[in-house]
Amino acid sequence: MTIALALEQLLNGIQLGVMLFLMAAGLTLIFGVMGLINLAHGSLYMVGAFACATVAAWTGSFWIGLVASLIAAAAAGAIVELVVIRRLYDRDHLDQVLATFALILMFSEGTRWLFGSFPLYLDIPPLLQGAVALPGGTEYPLYRLAIIAAGALVAFGLYMLISRTRLGMRIRAGESDREMIGALGVDIRTLYTVVFALGAALAGFAGAMVGAIQSVQVGMGEPVLILAFVVIVIGGIGSIKGALLGALLVGVTDTMGRFLLPKLMLLFVPPAQAGMIGGAIASMLIYIVMAVILAVKPRGLFPPAHA
């Protein structure tokens, strides 16, 4: 194992983490402000990817597709909030889990209804094609670097939004005291719709970005959704900072586990079994990490102070 390979794997871990952050940020924001668990967040990710693939196919431009994914996911989010979600804020988590589970079924089958069962084609824009040289002599896909950059921008943008703007002030107020914000004269229903649409747009953005290097297909959101939940639970539900650090932790742990555990197993068993056993443990690794963290810190690494 060379330094260059280790560096490349670290970058891969960070890139996976950034992608998870885009998902987790919306989830944790929605939970922080509205106290809602949204299992259907993965469906919004799927909506973003399908919108991007479809529009990119019509127009020939990934970038127009990307904009479309933001609009489509935000619109889908806003509609779902208006029709369904807002009836769930004063329900317990059980009802929220069930209702959003039902939404997953509807989104998945509905998407198949509209788009058919075959995966869609979505390619990386020409601008971001290819690989660039890294120090140490190895190459790294430009697009993955772009994902890292986009994730960093979104993280910064969210920070600015929440700490510097009027909307952000209302979000913070909503997080710390749901009754108070109503008393401040803020239209809380509109605020919730906006926050939900914002979270949805982030998920849609992630879906479009990732769709270009993965498979745009029905059900694509579910594995990511579970990882995103692991992220926000590790980070402390409601904390954007926790989501960012949790995402990076999960991304790097998962990548490094897949990379290193089979090698570690080589010390004990023959190669074919080392791959299998190492792979098996690697696939459980982040859940083990999550269980350990919650066993020690039952409310995650950065529990929001108010809750």
């Binding site: 260059a4 198949r112 290097i213 297909q217």
Partner: protein, 378 residues
């Protein structure tokens, strides 16, 4: 959970040939029509129904239901088809794990099972059954062919598959024929969508060839990511990694990939040309290998049905085993374990009039059977 597709319950008019042996035959098709793997099941159903339609035997009816890729649902549907619909033959399952849930108990209840795709090792070997036929291949075949192909010019292979039985069988099959060195043997998580870590290992491994078995969305994700990585090592895999159902989604990233297959749409024989033309006319798309396998399965059944009654299991089984059909694959006969003996070819992904498809390059195996037939006591 019954998806009884009324539209798919076909009762077809007798064709002019008038050769049909007049005995009613009811076929139960269980396949994946919803969920992530629905593309494969839809091709299976369409290929199968095309052959049924062509046969024009009005005594044959087909009931089709969706298993949603869930084993327990497949079992439930099989129970219903056997107990309530009183089918004679079951078919259509795409996935090995679903097949293992359904086929042994179906044959134990005296029903035929003709597999259109899944072909786990057990059913080809010790657990083979006189009522179980496989019209596709044995799971290891296409991997074995790539192992054989890789012997020509590849000294150090990097091989990769998902960490589940079919993945392990795949790499075992590859290694059964490949004589060179292995740079690494890597197992990834089932359903994994990001392969950056594995691609980085490939880059660093010093391998001169890569063999991947990643069906469905996994393969799409891998190929797109691999194309962006700047790694220039040739990629090869079994046919279904680059089959017609995934090629449009992978796009140009698949160009040049080598694969093994018992058939490709460009086969130059009359049966194949007719199959491709009929399929395109009926469904307006190119058939995939799943469609072909199901098409042949239906041909086998209709051919046997024209000679014997399914109520006479011994006679019907004997007719099935004769495999008296014109397969688009060319050579096709059954081994002692009722799995195919057939030729296996090398194909390459090319662009033909703007459509990605597989071009046949050369023959790898002639009359290739499988490694498990010797364990089968039929």
């Amino acid at each position: 959970m019954k998806k009884m597709l009324a539209a798919a319950t076909l009762a077809l008019t007798l064709s002019a040939s008038g050769l049909a042996f007049a005995a009613p035959l009811k076929i139960g098709m269980i396949t994946t029509l919803s969920g992530g793997g629905a593309g494969l099941g839809i091709d299976t159903r369409d290929g199968f129904m095309l052959a049924i339609k062509n046969a024009g035997n009005k005594d044959i009816t087909v009931v089709t239901e969706d298993d949603a890729q869930k084993p327990e649902l497949a079992v439930q549907i099989a129970d219903k088809m056997i107990q309530s619909d009183k089918v004679d033959i079951l078919t259509g399952i795409v996935w090995s794990n679903l097949l293992m849930a359904v086929a042994p108990s179906a044959t134990a209840q005296g029903k035929f099972y003709v597999s259109t795709n899944a072909a786990p090792a057990q059913l080809a070997g010790a657990a083979c059954n006189k009522l179980y036929f496989n019209a596709a291949y044995q799971n290891d075949n296409l991997h074995e062919a790539m192992g054989q192909y890789a012997n020509k010019g590849y000294k150090k292979m990097f091989i990769l598959a998902p960490n589940y039985p079919a993945g392990k069988d795949s790499l075992t099959g590859f290694k059964r024929y490949y004589k060179g060195d292995l740079a690494a043997e890597v197992y990834t998580q089932v359903g994994q969508t990001d392969y950056a870590a594995e691609i980085a290992q490939m880059r660093a491994s010093g391998a001169d060839g890569i063999f991947v078995f990643l069906p469905g969305g996994m393969g799409i994700a891998f190929m797109k990511q691999f194309a962006q990585s700047g790694v220039k090592i040739p990629v090869m895999g079994p046919g279904f990694s680059f089959s017609q159902d995934v090629l449009p989604a992978i796009g140009d990233a698949a160009l040049g990939a080598k694969a093994s297959g018992q058939w490709a749409p460009d086969f130059d024989n009359a049966a194949s040309k007719k199959f491709v033309a009929d399929f395109q006319k009926e469904y307006n798309r190119l058939p995939s290998i799943y469609a072909l396998q199901a098409y042949d399965a239906a041909q086998l059944i209709t051919a046997a049905a024209s000679k014997a009654s399914v109520k006479d299991a011994a006679a019907f089984g004997a007719e099935l085993k004769k495999a008296d059909i014109k397969s688009p694959r060319g050579n096709f006969k059954f081994n002692t374990n009722q799995h195919p003996i057939q030729d296996i070819y090398l194909t390459e992904v090319v662009k033909n009039n703007g459509v990605l498809t597989n071009k046949t390059v050369e023959k790898i195996f002639s009359d290739h059977g499988d490694a498990y037939a010797k364990d089968c006591k039929l």
